[in-house]
């Protein structure tokens, strides 16, 4: 009278097939190099990619004769006009995407974007404050800090907002995403009001400076701006990469990460500072360029999985390529007029954000 139970046979479940990390990073590095070469040659004065390659090889001292001639005029256009701008695109994309990836890890949510939660507008508000009132209110300080005044102010503005949002949205080690996004809305509105006020009292010249902040632009970037941005962004990206393993662990939850031996406080402080550093300095020079920090990390997660050891460097490479490409489109699509790159990234990024939200909305009870 014993019932015969069928032997349990585990169903063959489809495993996750992902490309290896090295393959993904290699492919993205190649993509970035190609994008840089093509973008450097594109514009009113066109330079063929192979000529760009020859000029760049020549510049870094590899003077092999590959049978490609270039003119001094091409060389000077490339170095004086194109390259600073393209390289700034690389820094912008890499910095924003790496900061975005790290912040999304810390907040344990792919929607935690430095632009959305107000870090960029906090930085822009601080920058606007310095442009309009800096010389009047604290002339000594402005003169002492020189060209560092603006990036420093933007960094502090970004830092203040990041800390505020984190404090508002976390309680007993738990993070509330709705609180975080709503706080971001409030901060964005507040910063918008502040920037609006400064616009109102600004002189004509200051006004031109301010408009460009709200839309973002890589126009008029010179080597001196690059010299300030490059070390800051490099530091931020390296910091983000060094936090990859603890950021993986913290995806389990703050308490769980603590049990695994992660110094959670140090990690939080590190990610907040690196985000403020990258976003602040970049906003100071390029204005608000949104959504790169949202799109690039998420595309990496889709392609290669959520491991931050791949996502952070990969997002930096992809973000750089995307920004360089977007800037190339921005300056050529309506030539000789120029479209602010921030409009373009928002055009691509906002629908992307909505698609992400649709995927998550079930978790939110919608």
């Amino acid at each position: 009278m014993s019932a015969v139970l069928p032997q349990r046979r585990p169903l063959a479940a489809p495993g996750l097939r992902r490309p290896g990390g090295a393959t993904v990073l290699g492919a993205l590095a190649l993509l970035l190099v190609c994008t840089v070469i093509i973008a450097s040659g594109t514009g009113a004065f066109a330079i063929a990619p192979r000529e760009v390659t020859a000029i760049l090889l020549h510049a870094i001292g590899i003077d092999i004769d590959i049978g490609i001639a270039f003119t001094p005029q091409q060389e000077s256009v490339l170095f004086a006009i194109r390259l600073p701008r393209v390289l700034m695109g690389v820094l912008t994309g890499a910095g924003l995407a790496a900061a975005g990836a790290a912040m999304q890890g810390l907040f344990r949510n792919p929607l935690a974007d430095p632009g959305l939660i107000g870090v960029s507008s906090g930085a822009a508000l601080a920058a606007a404050f310095v442009i309009v009132l800096g010389a009047t209110l604290m002339p000594g300080l402005s003169r002492a800090l020189g060209i560092f005044t603006l990036p420093l102010a933007a960094f502090l503005g970004g830092l203040a907002v990041t800390m505020l949002i984190y404090a508002l949205s976390s309680r007993d080690g738990r993070l509330s995403l709705p609180v975080m996004l709503l706080a971001g809305i409030a901060v964005n509105a507040l910063a918008g009001a502040g920037i609006g006020t400064f616009t109102y009292i600004a002189t004509d010249e200051q006004l031109r400076n301010l408009t460009f902040w709200s839309l973002g632009s890589l126009a008029g970037i010179g080597w001196n701006a690059l010299a300030i941005c490059a070390p800051c962004v490099a530091l931020a990206v390296l910091l983000a990469c060094s936090f990859a393993r603890p950021l993986n662990a913290i995806l389990l939850g703050e308490a769980e990460a603590g049990h695994l031996g992660v110094d959670v406080r140090r990690l939080k402080a590190g990610v907040i500072v690196l985000t403020a550093l990258a976003v602040g300095v970049l906003v100071a020079f390029t204005g608000i360029i949104g959504f790169i920090s949202l799109v690039a990390p998420h595309m990496l997660r889709l392609a290669a999985g959520p491991d931050h050891r791949i996502v952070i460097p990969g997002a930096a490479l992809l973000g750089a390529a995307l920004t360089v490409f977007a800037d190339m489109v921005a300056r050529t699509v309506a030539a000789p007029a120029e479209m602010p790159i921030g409009i373009l990234t928002a055009l691509i990024g906002a629908p992307f954000f909505l698609a992400l939200l649709m995927k998550q909305r079930r978790a939110w009870g919608a």
């Binding site: 585990p10 479940a13 495993g15 996750l16 344990r108 949510n109 080690g173 990859a244 393993r245 993986n248 662990a249 995806l251 389990l252 939850g253 308490a255 769980e256 603590g258 049990h259 695994l260 031996g261 992660v262 110094d263 997660r301 999985g305 959520p306 491991d307 050891r309 978790a363």
Partner: protein, 304 residues
């Protein structure tokens, strides 16, 4: 030895854990049971350093818990949480590999082949080998729990040596069987117990709701009530009808497990009218005094 002395924790003015002392020796399986709100989970969270006690001290291998460096502590003490909050699409194997975090010392953070082997063995021990390549976020609650068990087993897999001295390891389990089917309730506790026996120097403290599971797997059982440890001892000593009635306020029949002879508990048949009424406070032998609450209580006759 994992030792807690006079731990107290308050929510407002209410003591959730009130001067609790307990120890877990290497190789020992200690179960904590008790009614809802007795302070079991708070106690585990205090031991896991998720909550800071208002007073009292916790020592891990003769050193205050706070004095260990975080990574050293993580090689000696692993915690299985009640529920999993991981919402990113890692594979089961990747989640198990998180357990190797405190062991990975290389700067680049690349995992050794050893870690991969250990994670696979831990998955096998948790009956989760077939989940190694699956997306963690698509697993059922029970499957997630097994992968998480593999993660904490992987964390304690290798003997821990600090300053040239081998250190016992401890595993804290907070209701490890809550999401599991019958087979995996037993599989999980058996895996934890077998792991502790095999290693010899791994102690386990588990919060368990099911007294029958506690009776079968625990070497020592603590029954908590109102933030105190009401009674503790070998399961056979503690799990008497009188003690269970005193602590859980429900009448039960205690039988013997036909195979092991361990106590087997079933609630007595309660008719609807009687259900919900609270029996008078009773005590059983071996029960520790519980302040004023038991001041006027008299021992129930026949309780041994």
């Amino acid at each position: 030895m994992l030792t807690a002395r006079d731990l107290s924790f308050y929510a407002g003015s209410r003591a959730l854990v009130d001067k609790v002392s307990l120890t877990a020796a290497p190789g020992e399986f200690v179960a904590i049971a008790g009614p809802n709100g007795a302070g079991k989970s708070t106690l585990i969270k205090l031991l896991a350093q998720e909550l800071m006690p208002a007073s009292g001290i916790i020592e891990l291998n003769r050193l205050p818990l706070n004095d260990w460096r975080a990574l050293e502590r993580a090689r000696m003490l692993a915690v299985l949480p009640q529920e999993s909050k991981l919402a990113f699409a890692f594979t089961g194997l990747e989640v198990a590999l998180f357990g190797r975090y405190p062991h990975c010392t290389t700067r680049a953070g690349m995992l050794a082949r050893d870690d991969r082997r250990i994670a696979m063995e831990a998955l096998a021990m948790a009956d989760a080998t077939h989940l190694a390549e699956r997306d963690f976020t698509t697993l059922s609650g029970g499957e997630k729990a097994r992968v998480q068990l593999a993660r904490v087993l992987a964390q304690l897999w290798t003997p821990c040596t600090v300053d040239g001295k081998r250190q016992p390891r401890y595993l804290l389990l907070d209701e490890p069987t809550a999401a599991l089917d019958l087979k995996h309730q037993h599989a999980t506790l058996a895996a934890a117990r077998d792991f502790a026996r095999r290693e010899g120097d791994v102690g386990i403290i588990a919060v368990l709701h099911d007294l029958n599971l506690a009776a079968q797997y625990a070497d020592r059982l603590l029954l908590m009530q109102h933030g105190h440890i009401a009674v503790q001892g070998r399961p056979a000593e503690v799990l008497t009808a009188e003690c269970i009635e005193a602590v859980f306020e429900i009448k039960v029949n205690v039988m013997r497990h036909p195979d092991s002879g361990a106590p087997l508990i079933a609630a007595t048949h309660v008719n609807a009218a009687a259900a919900g009424t609270t029996p008078g406070i009773v005590r059983c032998a071996g029960m520790q005094p519980d302040g004023e609450k038991f001041a006027n209580a008299r021992p129930v006759s026949g309780c041994t």
